[in-house]
Structure formats: structure tokens, C-alpha cells
């Protein structure tokens, strides 16, 4: 039963990833990514990482995907949204992808790592301890990064307005 569910989730993940890779319309690709992200959250639960799984959904689905969809909706005007992604350079891309894939399988095959039987355990509290004891420096660095991000986004927004005020004149010149 467990394996069956795992296989289902794995199949959904792969399907989502493939849709992202091969779909021609950008909105379908984004949907495929959404599917893959949710399914990967499911995989995390199999790996007893429920906190990470919930974070994945909170941040990816609630944040990143919404932003991406926003971006898609804002930047593609009506008609070209379904056909603005001609697959270009498919042959070299396939080649490179194949090389990476084979490399990965080779590494997995020959790593010789010792694995232990994993067991489910509740993790929230322990992750908290790890974050605030052993990884306190990266944790704080991430906070700094996010502050920089917020300030940067604000600055960019201001810049936009400045640029835009000159934009109409430029356009007329071009015409």
C-alpha cells in the first residue's frame, strides 16, 4: 500500500516535471511545476520531513508559484500566452540533459554510501533546535538576505516609476 502510494506520487512528480520541460505554453509549464512541487512535498512526508513538506507548500505554492503566475499573467498579453515558447535548440539540450542524467545515475550507482533504515519521527522541534543552535549563522544570514531583498524590491519599485516617466517620450522617438 505504502509503495503504491509512493509510486503514484513519484509518477505525479515525474509527470509534472515533464510537463514543465516539454509543454509549449508557459502557463501549462507553470501548472506542471505546481504539480511537481506539491508531489515533492508528498515525497518529503515519506522521508519523515513533514515540516519541510509544509514549508515547501507554504513557500512554493503560496509564494513562488503565485509570483510566477503573476509574472506570467502580467508579461504575456492575451494571445501569445499559449504559443510563445517554441522549443529551441532541442538537440543540444537533449544531449546535455542526457549527459547529466547518465552522470547522475553513474554517481548513484557507484557512490558506495552506507544507508540506514529510516524511520518516521516528528521533526518540528528538532529542526528548531538545529536551526537555532548549529545553523544559527546561516539562519541569521538568511534573515539579512531577506532584509536586503525587501529593501531591494522597494528600491526597484521606485526606479520603475522614474524610468517609466521618461518612457513615453522614448517610445515616440522610436516610432
Amino acid at each position: 500500500m505504502k509503495d503504491g502510494i509512493f509510486l503514484c506520487i513519484a509518477a505525479v512528480t515525474v509527470f509534472g516535471a515533464l510537463v514543465t520541460a516539454f509543454s509549449r505554453s508557459i502557463i501549462n509549464a507553470a501548472l506542471g511545476l505546481l504539480l511537481a512541487l506539491v508531489a515533492i512535498a508528498g515525497l518529503y512526508i515519506f522521508l519523515s520531513a513533514d515540516f519541510v513538506a509544509v514549508s515547501q507548500i507554504l513557500i512554493y505554492v503560496g509564494g513562488v508559484m503565485v509570483l510566477l503566475l503573476f509574472g506570467i499573467m502580467l508579461t504575456s498579453g492575451g494571445d501569445n500566452i499559449f504559443s510563445n515558447n517554441p522549443i529551441m535548440g532541442a538537440v543540444p539540450a537533449t544531449l546535455i540533459t542526457t549527459i547529466f542524467g547518465l552522470l547522475g545515475i553513474y554517481v548513484v550507482n557507484t557512490s558506495g554510501l552506507t544507508f540506514y533504515q529510516g524511520a518516521y519521527r516528528a521533526t518540528t522541534r528538532d529542526i528548531g533546535h538545529f536551526l537555532l543552535r548549529e545553523y544559527i549563522l546561516p539562519f541569521e544570514l538568511v534573515s539579512v538576505l531577506i532584509v536586503v531583498l525587501i529593501v531591494g524590491a522597494g528600491v526597484m519599485l521606485r526606479k520603475e516609476l522614474v524610468i517609466v516617466r521618461q518612457a513615453p517620450q522614448k517610445k515616440e522617438g522610436k516610432k
Partner: protein, 388 residues
């Protein structure tokens, strides 16, 4: 409020440059919940900001003015009800006064008093719809129902007075169509006692609501000069600080003898001429109507209600323009008669709503979509009056 903060608030929220450059053309109306009937704006919006707006009228055009040319003068009276169905007696009165002035018809005293009762009651009803629909368009449903409940009581009174609840067709040339007994007057007085309380309750409920004030203050500011240049009239003009009321300036009926104030917008929450002023002016005007009604009740006397009017009314050749203060501003009837036939050569109706529509294209510029609704609702435009 200090001048600095006021200046800050008065500045347009976003400068109208092309912010993202992607204008979306949206079609607000003719079937849209908040255009009150069939009025259409084409809005060019950029995000939430309206870059350009094209108001479009004519979806409710019924050629009332043209129809008038093909029928006797008196037959046209029911059509005037349909000019502004919310304040029907007001429209009756304007037409009747125009014809009476042109034909030199006498009006008995009691008929004039009854006309004034009908007109003032109707004005209150119309303003109730106006101030009720305003919160409705801002998202609050309950005040609208409360206002309509009161309007319902008034309709009952009008039913006694005129025989119908809407489209009353009450006024005849040289009089009114039916008389009332003293019981009606007592009922009316009793109702007015209740209405004062309701008005206060309503104003406390709505006019002190923080969200309501925030949504209306400094939105859609029409300064006095602007209002005149848009040819605003009625409450919308008075909200802009110009106390022009035809009942005072060019009195008709017995408004000369009435003691009432003309409320003007003072900008109590924001700037003179903003949407909140248009709301508060209507509220205050209802209180004035109530005062007028009480004075009428104290002065009304028994007497005939209809003077002698020829069966076939042929007006002398010439033209006349008569304006009255309707609930939505100046309501003028311009009548041209050729002196021979029993039907007018041409009738032109000037309405307040149509004048208010002229401001939309300019005021909408740079507003947010929600403000468009708030401004439009505060103007209290009735679609049939725009198109006739």
C-alpha cells in the same frame, strides 16, 4: 487638519503616467451592478488606476421628447413620470408649471399646497434612494435596505395622496388629480416625527462610519468653478459650496413663504466638493424637506383643487422655459408651441443627471476603480433621467 497633510491627501494617488504601460480596456456597463440602470463607461485602466474614461449614454433612450410632439399637452403628463421615476411628481410639476405659465392657467391655493407636499415627499424619497445606494455601491447592503424601508412608508403616504406608489401622474394642468382628507395630513405629521429620528439614526450609522468616510472623503473633488463649468445643479452643485437653490433663487409655488436653509458642502471631512459632501448635503436636505413639510402642514387650507382648464388646450404661439428644483438638480422644460395644434411643436427637457454625466470623463482620470464607483454613486444619477 493641517495644511501640509491636506496637501498630501489632495495629491493624486498615482501620477498619471503610463506605469506599466499596459492599458486594459474594460467595459463598465451597460449591465453592471453599480451603474444603476443602463449607463456605460469604457474605462482604460492600468492596474487599478483609470487612465481614461469614456462615458456612454443612450442605452435607455425612449424618445420621450419626440413622443410629446405627437400628442395633446395633457397626454404627455404620464410620460414626465418616466423622466425620473424616483422623483416622479417633481417631473410632473415642472411640466405643469411650464404649461400653466404659457397658457396663463390659474392654480387654486390648496392644489399648490398638495403639489408641494407631493414634491417634497418625493424629494425625500429620491434622496433616500441616493444615500441608500451610495453605501450599497461601497459594499454595505444594510443601509440601503433601511433607506428603502423608510421610502416604503413614504410610498404608502403617496399612495393615499396620489393613488399610486410609483409614477404617480398626480399633477394636472391647473391643479391636482385628487384631494386628501385631514387624516392623511395627520398621518404625514406623525410620520415626520418618526422620520427625523430615522434620519439621525441613519446618519449616525453611516456618516460616522470610519470606512465610509475614508472611502468618500477627498474622492472626486469638484470645486465650485468646476461644478459650474460642468453645469452641475441641485445637490451636486450645492455640495461644491455654491448655495444655488431654485426654490430660493427663482421661487415657484409657495416656496417664497417657506423658511428653510440651503445646505452647502463645507468639506467637514475632507475638501469642499468631495463625495462625502454630496452625501451629507443630501442628508441635510432631507431634514430641510421635513421642515418645509411641517410648514406646509401648518398652512394648508381647505379649498378647490382644480381650476377650469379647456378640454382642448391650445397654447399661444411662442416658447417658454420653466425650471424647477428637482431632486437631481434643475429640471427645465422648454416648450415651443406653434399656436395652432393641440400638441407641442417641440419639448426639450433639461435634467440634472445629464449635466452630472458631463463631469465623469474628466473626474475619472487617475481614480481607482473603486473610487469610480464611489464618485458615480455620490452623484446620484438615475439612468432614465440621463437619456429621457
Amino acid at each position: 487638519m493641517t495644511s501640509a497633510t491636506r496637501e498630501k491627501e489632495l495629491k493624486p494617488r498615482v501620477e498619471i503616467t503610463q506605469i506599466s504601460g499596459t492599458e486594459i480596456e474594460v467595459n463598465m456597463g451597460p449591465h453592471h451592478p453599480s451603474t444603476h440602470g443602463v449607463i456605460r463607461f469604457i474605462l482604460f485602466i492600468d492596474g487599478e488606476i483609470v487612465v481614461r474614461a469614456v462615458p456612454d449614454v443612450g442605452y435607455l433612450h425612449r424618445s420621450i421628447e419626440k413622443i410629446a410632439e405627437s400628442m395633446p399637452y395633457s397626454f404627455f403628463m404620464p410620460y414626465t413620470d418616466r423622466v425620473d421615476y424616483v422623483a416622479a411628481i417633481n417631473c410632473n410639476l415642472g411640466y405643469a408649471l411650464a404649461i400653466e405659465a404659457m397658457g396663463g392657467l390659474e392654480v387654486p391655493e390648496r392644489a399648490t399646497w398638495l403639489r408641494m407636499i407631493g414634491v417634497e415627499l418625493n424629494r425625500i424619497m429620491s434622496h433616500l434612494v441616493g444615500v441608500g445606494a451610495l453605501p450599497l455601491d461601497l459594499g454595505a447592503f444594510t443601509p440601503f435596505v433601511h433607506a428603502l424601508r423608510e421610502r416604503e412608508h413614504m410610498m404608502d403616504l403617496l399612495e393615499i395622496l396620489t393613488g399610486t406608489r410609483m409614477n404617480n401622474n398626480y399633477i394636472r394642468f391647473g391643479g391636482v388629480c385628487q384631494d386628501v382628507d385631514d387624516e392623511f395630513l395627520k398621518k404625514l405629521e406623525k410620520y415626520l416625527d418618526h422620520f427625523v429620528l430615522f434620519l439621525e439614526e441613519y446618519d449616525r450609522l453611516i456618516g460616522t462610519n470610519k470606512i465610509f468616510i475614508e472611502r468618500l472623503k477627498n474622492v472626486g473633488i469638484v470645486s465650485g468653478e468646476k461644478a459650474l463649468s460642468y453645469s452641475f445643479s441641485g445637490p451636486n452643485l450645492r455640495a461644491s459650496g455654491i448655495g444655488l437653490d431654485l426654490r430660493k433663487v427663482d421661487p415657484y409655488c409657495f416656496y417664497n413663504d417657506m423658511k428653510f436653509d440651503v445646505p452647502v458642502g463645507k468639506g467637514i471631512k475632507g475638501t469642499v466638493g468631495d463625495s462625502f459632501d454630496r452625501y451629507i448635503v443630501r442628508i441635510e436636505e432631507m431634514a430641510e424637506c421635513e421642515k418645509i413639510l411641517r410648514q406646509i402642514l401648518s398652512k394648508i387650507k381647505e379649498g378647490p383643487i382644480q381650476s377650469k382648464v379647456p378640454k382642448k388646450l391650445v397654447l399661444p404661439a411662442g416658447e417658454a422655459y420653466h425650471h424647477t428644483e428637482s431632486a437631481r438638480g434643475e429640471l427645465g422644460y422648454h416648450i415651443i408651441s406653434d399656436g395652432k395644434s393641440a400638441s407641442p411643436y417641440r419639448i426639450k427637457i433639461r435634467t440634472g443627471s445629464f449635466a452630472s454625466m458631463t463631469s465623469l470623463a474628466e473626474i475619472f482620470k487617475g481614480m481607482m476603480v473603486a473610487d469610480v464607483i464611489a464618485y458615480f454613486a455620490s452623484l446620484d444619477i438615475v439612468a432614465p433621467e440621463v437619456d429621457r
